[in-house]
């Protein structure tokens, strides 16, 4: 298939990346969603209880899907090869970020709907709160991965932060991940904004590093 140099084949790039780079991550994220109901009750829950599976389990799909955004180019040979192409790597990273965040949001929404069908008192706000958690944790992984040039290291800070939330609880204030369990929703706005900021920083740093190389 021939493309004009002026046209940027967004859909084609997304499709190819989905097939070659994201399949394993998507499979792990789906597995996480499927395993969650086996471990924790997802039926007949009131609003605060319904937040637990969403915040404590399903939001981890963000780490699984967003952290490996830069992984393919962390292999030097692939990096050399893609650098020779006319497609901007930064734009490819942006496409990957958008579809990964989209898939994370979709999985969370599907999970929320499945909880609704099991007579849980879930609302769209709960789903949005879980998406904010997912973006925050995932972007933390993305940023670390960009800064260190190693995706595996990228998984470390989000998991540590998750552990800190279990250990420290509401002491984390506006960046507390499990606030919806106690009926508080304001932290989600901060988590969402911080998530977007870290995502932008990761993409910007990756671009900067590329230019400086």
């Amino acid at each position: 298939m021939q493309f004009s140099k002026k046209r940027f084949p967004v859909l084609e790039i997304a499709k190819i990346n989905l097939r070659h780079n994201a399949l394993l991550s998507i499979a792990v994220a789906v597995l996480l969603c499927l395993v969650t109901p086996l471990l924790i009750g997802t039926a007949n829950l009131d609003r605060n209880s319904a937040a637990m599976p969403l915040e404590m389990f399903v939001s981890l799909v963000g780490v699984v899907l967003l952290t490996p955004i830069f992984q393919p180019e962390q292999n030097e040979e692939i990096d050399d090869l893609v650098s020779s192409k006319y497609c901007s790597t930064a734009k490819v990273h942006l496409i990957r970020t958008v579809y990964s965040a989209g898939i994370a949001a979709l999985l969370i929404c599907v999970f929320t709907v499945s909880m609704k069908l099991q007579s849980c008192d879930v609302t769209p706000v709960l789903a949005l709160g879980a998406i904010a958690d997912a973006l925050f944790l995932g972007s933390m992984g993305m940023l670390t991965s960009a800064l260190t040039g190693n995706t595996v290291i990228g998984y470390m800070p989000p998991l540590l932060y998750y552990a800190l939330n279990i250990g420290m609880g509401p002491k984390l204030g506006s960046l507390y991940l499990f606030s919806m369990v106690t009926g508080s929703y304001t932290a989600k706005l901060w988590l969402f904004l911080a998530g977007l900021l870290m995502m932008a920083a990761a993409l910007f740093y990756q671009r900067l590093r590329k230019r400086m190389a």
Binding site: L39, G41, S49, T148, I153, M156, L160, A163, G167, M168
Partner: protein, 448 residues
């Protein structure tokens, strides 16, 4: 010396520095550097010393019945089948069986219980459930409970009293509650082993003094703090973070294309793999040993005249924490060698996440056989719960030996895989990659 070289290589790497920073942050967040704010106090006569659970039938039976009635009337039962909270809603037929159990306990007619408490008329359609409990349920002077709600009072003017029947034997009560637990799928507060949770009595001065003396004589004070440190360190950092070191360093040879070169070296697979494993374990344990001592030393000067065990942190580091580090690194090395991918991070991450959450119900002393991070979350304010620790010490030893054993078995398997690869007999994840690429090729061909 190869071991020293490997250790140097690890401690100079960026992942190791991040690992150390993460360990410090994780432990700092748990307050292990502020143990001096949590000091043992000798109980004085006339004070309050906390509570303990005891199997007191007169206390357990009405309290458990009250909870079961509340949950029955709401048809919303809270259980912990494998540690996580689960809300169970019973089908109508199972609610009827539950009513039979309640009938056995209270001596009231099953149909009446169904109608009065759960708002179900047997055989009628369009049943309804209304919420009682809380304000609606009140204890009367005889240890029974009366249910009062506007709706019910409209239906029946007299209040219905529920109480454990006078001739109820505790053994029979436990049996009936066990049946209720089975009906709920297990893991409820009505399980035979959990009923003791309803029996709470205050500790006497003598008991509190005995616990204090045990903390001094058996734990020698520092042992209690070392155990609390191990509880935090195991669950927060050491059951998960070492896997990152193993995976990152395991994949480094592949990243820098050194794999084939190392295969040609004279060093045997067993020696190389084991030395690398040992180097990783030593490197991961170094900051832990250091921090455990810094944390423990904070309280040394607060106990003048008491014989302290200055080796306690070291004993707990090796006895309690080392097996967690060993298994975490072994899983990292084994899966990285086997698949050539960082899948070990996902595997260990999931195990750790479930282990952490499963532990929520058993943080006082949870040493189940397959626990990745044993829990004993008891500080000086609860006199370290030394007796609990001593009572379950055998379980802890079994768990730790099993984890260390599995870790060594995985390392043995890693050596075998490495040796096979060196001989060109095993291509790691070649089969997996081949399968995936054939699927992709097929798709590409069909699109062409």
């Amino acid at each position: 010396m190869l071991l020293l070289q490997e250790i140097k290589k690890i401690v100079k790497s960026i992942p190791y520095m991040i690992f150390v920073a993460a360990v410090v942050i994780g432990l700092f967040s748990q307050g292990v550097f502020r143990f001096q704010d949590d000091l043992l106090e000798e109980p004085q006569p006339g004070g309050s010393y906390g509570y303990k659970h005891e199997e007191i039938a007169e206390q357990i039976m009405p309290a458990a019945l009250r909870d079961l009635l509340t949950e029955f009337s709401n048809n919303n039962y809270t259980t912990y089948p494998i540690g996580f909270i689960k809300h169970v809603k019973l089908s109508e037929s199972k609610q009827e069986k539950m009513a039979e159990i309640l009938s056995g306990i209270t001596g009231n007619d099953k149909d009446r219980i169904l109608q009065e408490a759960a708002g179900i008329t047997p055989g009628a359609s369009g049943n309804y459930t209304f919420q009682i409990g809380g304000d609606g349920m009140q204890q009367d002077g005889n240890g029974g409970f009366t249910i009062g709600s506007d709706e019910k009072q409209q239906n029946s003017p007299e209040k219905m009293a529920f109480a454990v029947r006078d001739d109820m034997d505790y053994a029979r009560f436990k049996e009936l509650m066990g049946q209720a637990d089975d009906l709920l799928g297990g893991g409820s507060n009505y399980a035979v082993d959990s009923l003791i949770g309803y029996g709470t009595v205050p500790l006497t001065y003598e008991e509190a003094k005995e616990r204090y003396d045990l903390a001094i004589s058996s734990d020698k004070v520092t042992g209690g703090y070392a155990r609390l440190f191990s509880d935090y360190a195991g669950v927060m950092v050491l059951s998960i973070l070492p896997v990152f070191l193993a995976v990152i360093l395991g994949m480094k040879d592949r990243r820098v294309k050194m794999e084939a070169l190392i295969y040609t070296k004279k060093t045997s697979a067993a020696k190389l793999t084991f030395i690398r494993y040992l180097a990783l374990v030593i490197a991961a344990m170094l900051p832990v040993i250091l921090i455990s001592y810094i944390s423990n030393m904070m309280v040394w000067s607060s106990y003048p005249g008491i014989q302290l065990d200055y080796l306690a942190p070291l004993k707990y580091d090796f006895g309690w924490l080392l097996p967690s580090v060993m298994i975490s690194i072994a899983i990292g090395m084994f899966l990285t060698e086997l698949t050539g991918t960082p899948i070990a991070v996902a595997v260990q991450g999931l195990w750790w996440m479930f282990d952490v959450n499963l532990g929520i119900k058993s943080v006082s002393s949870g040493y189940a056989l397959l626990r990745l991070a044993p829990r004993h979350n008891a500080g000086a304010d609860s006199l370290f719960r030394t007796q609990d620790y001593l009572d379950h010490f055998g379980d802890l030893v079994q768990n730790r030996l099993l984890m260390a054993g599995i870790a060594l078995a995985l390392i043995l398997l890693t050596i075998l895989i490495y040796e096979s690869k060196r001989k060109g007999k095993f291509g790691g994840n070649a089969i997996f990659k081949k399968a995936v690429s054939s699927i992709r090729d097929r798709k590409n061909k069909s699109q062409a």
